[in-house]
């Protein structure tokens, strides 16, 4: 059974807190510390971004994070090294990679998955690889062989037909994109968020975690009332952006923010 499935079925959590940050921002070694800090202050699953030069599904905050990361020399061996360090800090927290398909394709799917698994990664989110492509099918098969999950994105624009169709190749959890557009903090969410999540839960027998735009403890508290998890990226990345040049301050600010969100989630 996959680690993620284990977690959701253990009954230990009502709603998962899934923070995201980009590896390598502002440098790879600080990333290790940020990862540890986030883990220490409460993450049920941790999403690590592998930077890609052209992140079309991301808003300005994450775009800037990626750009800062890519100022360092990018290499998969660095990515896997850092991931492993974070993993060893708290081995029971499942790690998930979020990246675009091109870097994975270049690394070679099997090679990438073997190394990712070795580093403690148990699932993938790939915003530009729709489930109904040949590449996604191959990836899904390879992930299954390794007990790893392919986490699909579902959006407010996804039709019933597509949702039905993606069931077959979907594991772990569903990443429900709460709003139109790209990642970034938002004040309001679509009015039918609750209904959509309920509908998804009934249609796909998987946990539904909501992300894109969540940033405040209030929002986290509210949405986690009906979603199986909440994902926060841009707000965390902003803290790193604003304090990243002063490492102790960044760490402190991160710890405080994560702890605040943690207590807001039941």
């Amino acid at each position: 059974m996959s680690k993620i499935k284990d977690l959701f079925e253990s009954g230990k959590i009502k709603s998962a807190f899934i923070p995201y940050f980009t590896l390598g921002d502002p440098n790879y070694n600080d990333s290790i510390e940020f990862g540890k800090t986030i883990l220490d202050n409460g993450a049920d699953i941790l999403e690590l971004g592998i930077p890609f030069s052209d992140p079309v599904a991301d808003g300005p905050v994450i775009q800037r994070a990626v750009a800062r990361s890519l100022k360092n020399k990018f290499s998969f061996s660095e990515i896997f090294r850092v991931t492993k360090e974070i993993h060893l800090h708290k081995k029971d927290v499942p790690l998930v990679y979020l990246t675009y398909f091109n870097p994975i394709f270049h690394c070679g799917i099997e090679d990438f998955l073997n190394q990712a698994k070795d580093s403690g990664v148990v699932g993938l989110v790939i915003p530009d690889l729709p489930f109904d492509t040949k590449e996604s099918e191959v990836l899904f098969q390879e992930l299954r062989k390794r007990d790893m999950d392919l986490i699909h994105l579902v959006t407010p624009a996804s039709t019933k037909k597509r949702i039905e169709a993606l069931k077959k190749t979907s594991t772990g959890f569903i990443y429900y994109v709460t709003s139109f557009g790209v990642t970034g903090e938002r004040r309001e969410f679509s009015v039918d968020l609750k209904e959509r999540i309920r509908f998804l839960k009934e249609t796909i027998q998987l946990p539904i975690c909501a992300g894109f735009g969540i940033s405040t403890p209030d929002q986290a508290g509210q949405i986690s009332g009906y979603a199986d998890g909440i994902i926060i990226g841009s707000a965390i990345q902003r803290i790193i952006e604003e304090n990243g040049h002063e490492f102790p301050k960044a760490k402190q600010a991160l710890a405080e923010y994560i702890a605040k969100i943690r207590v807001a989630i039941p």
Binding site: F52, S53, D54, P55, V56, A57, G59, Q63, A67, L70, F74, S75, F76, Y100, F101, N102, P103, I104, F105, H106, C107, P127, D128, L129, P130, D132, T133, K134, E135, H152, L153, V154, T155, P156, A157, S158, T159, R162, V177, F180, G181, V182
Partner: protein, 396 residues
Amino acid sequence: MGKNQPGYFGEFGGRYAPEILTEALEELESTYHKLKKSKKFKKELEFYLSNYVGRPSPLTFAERLTKHWGGARIWLKREDLNHTGAHKINNAIGQALIAKFMGKKRIIAETGAGQHGLATATVGAMFGMETVVYMGAVDVERQNLNAKKIEMLGAKILPVTAGEATLKEATSEAMRDWALNVSTTHYIVGSAIGPHPFPTIVRDLQAVIGKEARSQFKKQNHKLPHAIVACVGGGSNAIGMFHAFLKDKHVAIYGAEAGGLGPKPGEHSATLTYGKTGFLHGTKTLIIQDEAGQIVPAHSVSAGLDYPGVGPEHAFLSQTKRVDYRMVTDEQALDCFLEVTRIEGIIPALETAHAFHVARDVAKDLGKKKDLIICLSGRGDKDVTEVLRLLGEKSK
């Protein structure tokens, strides 16, 4: 969707876009499928092409250039004479009509040289649609005249400062806008790139270039040309020019891509020469990238060729060797720009100047009494300031 399914050209093409866009892409695909067969749509498109764009564009025999180069007879397919000065309007009008049929009131576009932005702003004005154009901040500078025209036409320019601040970033930003406003907005992709069905729609709308050229040439000469040449950025004018000739196996086809300053990564936009298979902006194609799969910034003296990817159909035509793609450096393009201007009295776009350079070599190889058509994709008014600046630099 898989191999050999619609939207693929061999292994290239497909739809690799964020999930939020899938609905819109499917809607576009099915609308276009219907419209393609609709007499009303065809009639309306033809009406605008002949009464607004100025089609058919002439096929001009370039007598002086033929003599000067001393090889094959040179013919020019005059897309520079279209309204707004380039082939881009063929596609912009067609897609604006599709948007109208879909009930979308807002159109957006990305632009490099500004020609596609200008074409989109123009049809936006003509059809009374709200228009937003994403343009790299560097290109807003390089192609300032076009940027000014776009604004004068009532469209909004949003300069993009991320990354290299050129066409690649403008394209990403337009995709993001579309994701946010997908229910009200149609994204008029400006080249034969992007997720399915864009490469097909853009190709179909630009195919008029080659169709006209083929029949014009045949009517005047009672045969087909020996060779045709076009420049390749994303590849829209080229695929438009090539399409009608692909089955004419004895017609040699050449594409000219930007060799920039040289072969080093970051110094060129020669995707078909140096690119590797990958995924960018919703399509599987050849891309200039490093060993780790990060996209390498592209360079070209012409903003319209400055893109690290290429339309998937070109990747396929290069793989099957139906088309011979060659590189042309900034300097060679600049030389041709001046040569054609002085010899033939036509100022070509810097993009097109790349095609002229390849054509010159091909014409010499073919020799006399053979015929070669160049797609003159656009006029060079937009490039005058930049060319003068570069010449000033050279003479220093």
